[in-house]
Amino acid sequence: MEKLYQEIILDHYRTPHHQGLRAPFDAEVHHVNPTCGDEITLRVKLVPAEQTGDEATQSDDLMVADVSYESLGCSISQASTSVLTDLAIGHSLADVLMTLDEFTAMVTSRGTITGDEDVLGDGIAFVGVSKYPARVKCALLGWMAFKDAAAQTAAAMQATTAAEYAPARQESIG
């Protein structure tokens, strides 16, 4: 059991990072795991890279400015979303999507892919999940929500590329 529930996972479960729903955000999604009823509401805020002041980044790159969420779920899904926020916030969207692919490949590999710790950081702790097919959806719940929200945001931003980028919504959060 300790191989599945590594201490890193239990730490993130007990003390989740970046929890709560915040503004500003570009897209909000609600994802559920229909087999167990777990659910997550997740928001993404992307900004064009130049706003970060990072000259090395291409101007049409997007940076993940914030990922915020509220969720109901098991330790695996809660911890994995917490790890996702650490790996996403402040990184380029392209890099985060590559990390997401690496993470997805590892947890769906039935134990054949061990994952690259340099890419996955704390995400490497979820290597044990791949041996429990029933838990893979738990580990991916937050990541798939992020992918969906980021895709929606990127599509909306590209639709307004030539025009001035519409400012993000600044709604107050009840």
Binding site: M1, C36, G37, D38, L72, G73
Partner: protein, 474 residues
């Protein structure tokens, strides 16, 4: 036990006499003893007496090969998920094999010997299953793919009636202003078909809420079941709570206003003596794989005068009377509702399953499971931080025990249990509205069958305590 369930001490002799007299071996198949009942293992000594000793249970367990295996690095299998699907005894496996290796053919087609034998096997199963649920006319039983299909058969037949020009079908028409009643504790299989029927016809869906003590709230029964009500669909025994519902009260209310009743009997028929005629329902559904039989076969019981007036659901071969290029007329029930070549070996297996259950004795099965349920409730309730989601005593309650553990999500409890070899269900158990009612996303459910033991409940309880230690709760 309700009086609906504790109907009688089985009338075992009568039933066995009936089953044997109607089995194919009793008639015109002289070469081989083909009655699956003849393959039964030696009967447990307590058969029919209303109790199972630990020796009996060990003998029963020996009939279930899967119970000998280990899981998760050598842990003995503790199978507490029979509410999802039950395991199969050797006589069921053998009956299917005997049918497939010796008698397989398309039933109700052709006039060759194999076709006759196959048809006899298939129809003999129908008769023995009918007798098992106290239905005197086997043609009131329709074989379906599963219980879900059985309920959908009724729902789709009613919506087909809504668009039918057949005079006989007019009584089943539904439209705006009509009401269909369900309950908040239904399995999705007895909820979504009615949601969809209402959507298609414009009828209104209503439901009985569930009380804080896990019972149907019938305080407004005469308001919820009213002259606009056309159909009342409800479960006999909740697959989550274990609650056994007051069938007689609901049937009386429905009959007063002329509404049809549909009973989800999936969780009652495998675990207690059930008399469908005595219950007075118009329709009932149950599934083979939850009662020691194969998957791929379910049963719909329907009052014959209703089935006879109902339009078909699935159409095609075998369900017709006469076919012309532009129209057709339909066979009498049950054939009208069994389009295509049916699941024959599964039906044969289910026939063997009811023979097995009848030989053990359903009162004995119910008593044994009540003992297990009582012990589980007692031991689980003693764990601090654990809350039972269901009645805390055995009054009108069956053997599904669902619970939540403070600070440990049901999936995580289930994972620790699995590591100990204890196989339980976690999640919403296809009863999401019921879980919403209690503000919980998921529960852990242990469910019992005739082959479970008190020792297995000890293993469950120990593993639950381990999960609390592992996650630092409790």
């Amino acid at each position: 036990m309700t009086d609906q369930l504790a109907t009688d001490q089985l009338a075992t002799d009568q039933l066995e006499a009936h089953a044997l007299s109607t089995g194919p071996g009793a008639g015109d198949l002289p070469e081989e003893p083909v009655v699956p009942a003849a393959q039964l293992s030696p009967a447990p000594e307590a058969a029919g007496t209303g109790t199972l000793s630990s020796v009996d249970v060990e003998r029963i367990r020996a009939d279930f090969p899967i119970l000998e295996r280990t899981v998760r690095d050598g842990k003995p299998l503790v199978y507490l998920d029979s509410g999802a699907t039950s395991q199969r005894p050797v006589p069921v496996i053998d009956a299917e094999q005997e049918y497939v290796t010796g008698h397989n053919a398309a039933v109700h087609r052709g006039a060759h010997q194999l076709a006759e034998e196959a048809t006899d096997f298939y129809e003999s199963s129908r008769e023995r299953i009918a007798a098992f649920v106290r239905v005197g006319r086997a043609d009131e039983l329709v074989f379906t793919k599963n219980a879900t299909e059985a309920i959908n058969l009724v729902a789709y037949s009613l919506s087909n009636a809504t668009f039918s020009t057949e005079p006989a079908a007019q009584r089943f028409r539904l439209g705006p202003g009509d009401e269909v009643v369900v309950t908040e504790m239904e399995h999705h299989a007895n909820l979504i078909p009615w949601q969809e029927l209402c959507r298609r016809t414009g009828a209104t869906l209503r439901w009985f809420p569930v009380t804080d003590d896990f019972r149907l709230d019938l305080s407004t029964i005469d308001e919820i079941i009213n002259p606009r009500t056309k159909l009342v669909a409800f479960t006999h025994q909740s697959n989550v709570l274990g609650t056994i519902n007051p069938v007689a009260e609901l049937v009386d209310a429905a009959q007063r206003v002329g509404a049809l009743t549909v009973l989800d009997a999936c969780q009652s028929v495998p675990h207690s003596p059930v008399d469908l005629i005595g219950l007075g329902v118009d329709f009932a559904a149950f599934s083979g794989h939850k009662m020691l039989g194969p998957s791929g076969v379910g049963v719909l019981y329907g009052r014959y005068d209703l089935l006879e007036a109902m339009p078909p659901f699935l159409t095609g071969g075998s369900m017709i009377e006469q076919v012309f290029i532009d129209r057709a007329t339909y066979a009498a029930p049950p054939a009208r509702f069994e389009a295509g070549v049916p699941m024959t070996s599964q039906a044969v297996g289910l026939g063997a399953a009811v023979d097995y259950l009848r030989q053990v004795g359903m009162t004995a099965v119910a008593d044994h499971e009540a003992t297990l349920t009582g012990y589980a409730l007692q031991e689980l309730s003693a764990i601090s931080g654990l809350r039972i989601i269901g009645p805390s005593d055995l009054v009108d309650r069956g053997g599904a025990v669902s619970f939540v553990v403070d600070g440990v999500h049901a999936h995580d409890v289930g994972q620790i249990l699995d590591d100990a070899g204890v196989q339980v269900r976690v999640g919403h158990h296809c009863a999401w509205p019921l879980h919403r009612r209690f503000g919980i996303a998921a529960t852990v459910r242990a469910s019992f069958a005739l082959y479970n033991t008190v020792d297995e409940i000890d293993a469950l309880v120990a593993a639950v305590r381990d999960s609390q230690r592992f996650f630092g709760a409790g």
